[in-house]
Amino acid sequence: MNDMTLMEKTVDTQKIKIAAKDVNVYYGDSHAIKDVNVEIEDKTVTAFIGPSGCGKSTFLRCLNRMNDTIDICKVKGDILLDGEDIYDKRVDPVQLRAKVGMVFQKPNPFPKSIYDNVAYGPRIHGLAKNKAELDEIVEKSLRRGAIWDEVKDRLDAPGTGLSGGQQQRLCIARAVATEPEVLLMDEPCSALDPIATAQVEELIDELRSRYSVVIVTHSMQQAARVSQKTAFFHLGNLVEFGLTGQIFTNPEDPRTESYITGRIG
C-alpha cells in the first residue's frame, strides 16, 4: 500500500463527464445516500470503495438510472452527464443506458451464443446496417473485451459455457458493443479467481483510453491498482474523494484512514 509509484501515477486533468450534485437516495424510509457531490472525469478510472452496505452500488446504479427498476427507490438531486440532467423528465432511461453501459457483479451473459450476446445491444439500437457491419462490431467489441482470441472459433457456442473470467470479459464486450461513453462496473471481479481478476483489471486499464470507467470494489488493492481517482463511501456519505495515490497514502479524513488500514470494513 505504501508503493511509491502510486504517487507518481500520471493523471492528466480530463473534462468532467458526470457531475453529481446533492444526491440523496431513499429506499422507502431508509436514507441510503446522503448529500453526495462528486465529479467523474472522462477517460479516467474512478473507484468507489467503502464497507459493505455503505451505498456504493446504490450510487453507481443512479448513474444509469438502474434504480428506476426498484419501485421503492427515490433519487433526489441532480446528476449531469455532459451537462445534461439524466433525471430530467424528458430523458428516456433506455437511451441513457445505451450511453452509460453497465457490468454487474456476477457475470450474467444471456443464455445465447457468444455472438448474440455481443450483437444484442447493437441490434436493438440499430447500430449495424447489415450482417457484415454487425460482424465487425462483434469482433471489435470482443477485441476490446480482450476475449476475441479465446472465442473467435466458437462464436456460436453458448456464452454461459465460458469460464467465469471469460464470461465477465464477454459481459464487458457486450457493454462496449453499444458504444457507450461511460462504463459502470459493480464489483466486476468479486466472483472471479485471481488470474481472471488480473486479466479483467488489465482490461479495465485499457478501457480507460476510450471510456470513463467507474468501478465499485471492496478490494482496496484493486482500487489502488486500476484507478486514478478514488471515492470513499461510509454509511451513505461520500467521506473523501481525490487522487487514488493521495487517498491511499495520505488520507485527510480519519474514517478513510481507519478503513484503509483495516480498522473498519
Partner: protein, 451 residues
C-alpha cells in the same frame, strides 16, 4: 434445572463412551427414523395398490367396448325395392327410408341361415332381430354412397344387436334373459351356430372411437368420436383465449405492475379463483353466455368459454411462477445494454420462461379436458345425436357433447351395454390426459435450466 447449571459450571459433558456402542439417545433417534421410513413406504405402497386397482378395473371393464360383434352377410340390393325407376337418381334412392331396407336385410339373414343349413324355428322377422336396429340405416348409408351397387349382391358387415354382443362378451347369459323381449333362447342358438360357421365374429370396432353417440335402443352403434371433436373444439377455444390472456396478465402483473394494495388484491383473488369449484363457472357461463349474450346452448364455444374462465387462474399462476424463476440478473443484463423493459421481457425473460408456461398450459388444458360439472349447466350433457361437424363454425356452434360428458351420459343410461362403453370412454379420455401430462413432464425435464 439444577443439574444443568451444575453441568455447565463443572466440566462439559462428554459424548458417551465408546463409539462402537450406541447411546440410548442414538438408538431412539435411529428407531424413529426407521419408523418414519416404514410409514413412507407403507404410504407409497397404498398409493400404488390404489393405482393398480384403478388401472385394472378400468382396463378390465373398458376394453370390451373396443370390440364389437359383427355379422357378415351377402346382401342382394334388389333394384325393385331400392330404385324402382332404375335411373340411379340419388334423389329417388333417398326417398326409400330405412323401412324399405328391412325386408332386404331379413332376406339376407334368412338366406345365410338356409345356406349354412342351420335349423331354427324362428321367423325371418325374429331372425333379423339378432342384428342391430341400426343395420338398416347402415345399409342405407352404404347404398347412398355407392348407388352403382344396386342390383348387385354385396358382402356386408352388420352390427349385431347389443344383446348378441353381450352374449358374445359373457355379459348376457341364457339364464338371465327370461323376461328380455330383445332376445330369445332360439336366437342365441342361432348366434352360436353363426359363430361356429364364422359368419358372426367379435372384432375390433373403430366406430367406437370415431363414431357418434346413438339412442338408448342402439348401444352397439354408439361411439366417442363426435364428443371427442366437441372436446377438441373446446380445447381450441381454451387455448386460443386462455393462453394469450393468461400470459399477458401474468407478464403485466409480474414485470410491469407496481407493488401496491391493488395488485396484492388481484393476486389473492386469482389464487381464490383457482380454488372455485368448477360448477360455479358453469352457472356463471349459463347466466352470462347463454342467458345474457344468447349464445347457443350445448355449443362447444360456450363450453370453451366456461373452461377458459376455469383454466385462466391455473395458467396465470404457473406463468407467474416461471417468470419469477428467471433470475433478475438476466433482466439487469438486458436493461444494462439499453433494452426497454418490454424488450427485456420479450427477448430474454419470456423465451426462458416459455417451457414453464407451456407446461402450465398443458396441465390447465388437461384439467379442462376432464371437466364435466360446468358442462352440465350449459347443456352439453345428454343425448346429443349429431354428426361430425363439417366446418369450423359448425364445430364451435352446433350442439355437441364432450368426452367426460359423454361418459357421464352413458353411465347414466339403463342398458348395461352403455355401462361398458362408459368404461371404454374412460380409457380414451385417460389416454388423452396421460399423453398430455407426459408431454408436460417431458417439456419440463428437457428445458429445465440451472442457473
Amino acid at each position: 434445572m439444577t443439574d444443568l447449571s451444575q453441568n455447565t459450571a463443572s466440566e462439559p459433558r462428554k459424548h458417551g463412551g465408546s463409539l462402537l456402542e450406541q447411546t440410548p439417545r442414538t438408538k431412539k433417534r435411529n428407531a424413529a427414523e426407521k419408523r418414519f421410513r416404514a410409514y413412507g413406504i407403507a404410504a407409497i405402497a397404498a398409493g400404488l395398490v390404489m393405482l393398480i386397482i384403478l388401472v385394472t378395473t378400468i382396463v378390465g371393464k373398458g376394453t370390451g367396448a373396443f370390440q364389437q360383434t359383427f355379422i357378415t352377410l351377402q346382401v342382394e340390393l334388389l333394384e325393385a325395392k331400392l330404385d324402382k325407376k332404375g335411373e340411379r337418381n340419388i334423389e329417388d334412392i333417398k326417398k326409400v327410408t330405412t323401412f324399405g331396407y328391412a325386408p332386404i336385410i331379413k332376406g339376407a339373414v334368412a338366406a345365410a341361415v338356409e345356406e349354412l343349413g342351420i335349423e331354427t324355428s324362428l321367423k325371418p322377422k325374429n331372425l333379423a332381430g339378432i342384428l342391430s336396429k341400426d343395420a338398416a340405416a347402415q345399409l342405407r348409408e352404404y347404398v347412398l354412397a355407392n348407388p352403382d351397387q344396386i342390383g348387385q349382391t354385396v358382402e356386408f358387415r352388420f352390427l349385431a344387436s347389443s344383446r348378441v354382443d353381450g352374449y358374445m362378451k359373457g355379459r348376457v347369459h341364457r339364464e338371465s334373459i327370461g323376461k328380455d323381449k330383445n332376445i330369445s333362447p332360439e336366437q342365441l342358438d342361432l348366434v352360436d351356430a353363426l359363430a361356429a360357421a364364422g359368419v358372426l365374429e367379435k372384432t375390433f370396432n373403430l366406430d367406437f372411437i370415431l363414431g357418434a353417440d346413438a339412442s338408448d335402443a342402439r348401444p352397439e352403434a354408439a361411439g366417442m368420436g363426435v364428443s371427442m371433436l366437441g372436446s377438441l373444439f373446446m380445447m381450441f377455444v381454451v387455448l386460443a383465449l386462455a393462453l394469450p390472456i393468461g400470459v399477458a396478465a401474468s407478464i403485466y402483473l409480474e414485470e410491469f405492475a407496481p407493488q401496491n394494495w391493488l395488485t396484492d388484491m388481484i393476486e389473492v383473488n386469482i389464487s381464490n379463483l383457482a380454488a372455485v369449484p368448477s360448477i360455479v363457472f358453469g352457472i356463471l357461463g349459463l347466466a352470462v353466455f347463454i342467458n345474457y349474450m344468447h349464445l347457443p346452448t350445448s355449443a362447444p364455444l360456450v363450453g370453451g368459454l366456461v373452461l377458459t374462465l376455469m383454466t385462466l387462474p391455473t395458467i396465470i399462476i404457473s406463468t407467474r411462477a416461471s417468470l419469477k424463476s428467471v433470475p433478475p440478473s438476466i433482466r439487469d443484463a438486458a436493461l444494462g445494454v439499453g433494452a426497454s423493459k418490454m424488450q427485456a421481457v420479450f427477448h430474454h425473460v419470456l423465451p426462458l420462461a416459455a417451457p414453464g408456461i407451456l407446461t402450465g398450459t398443458i396441465i390447465g388444458l388437461a384439467q379442462a379436458l376432464g371437466e364435466t360439472a360446468p358442462l352440465l349447466l350449459i347443456g352439453m350433457v345428454g343425448f346429443i345425436a349429431s354428426n361430425a361437424p363439417e366446418t369450423l363454425a359448425d364445430g364451435l356452434l352446433a350442439p355437441n357433447s364432450a368426452m367426460p360428458a359423454q361418459i357421464y351420459e352413458w353411465a347414466k343410461r339403463a342398458d348395461p351395454a352403455f355401462y361398458e362403453r362408459a368404461w371404454g370412454g374412460i380409457i380414451i379420455l385417460l389416454i388423452f390426459l396421460v399423453t398430455m401430462n407426459t408431454l408436460a413432464v417431458i417439456l419440463r425435464r428437457r428445458f429445465e435450466r440451472r442457473w
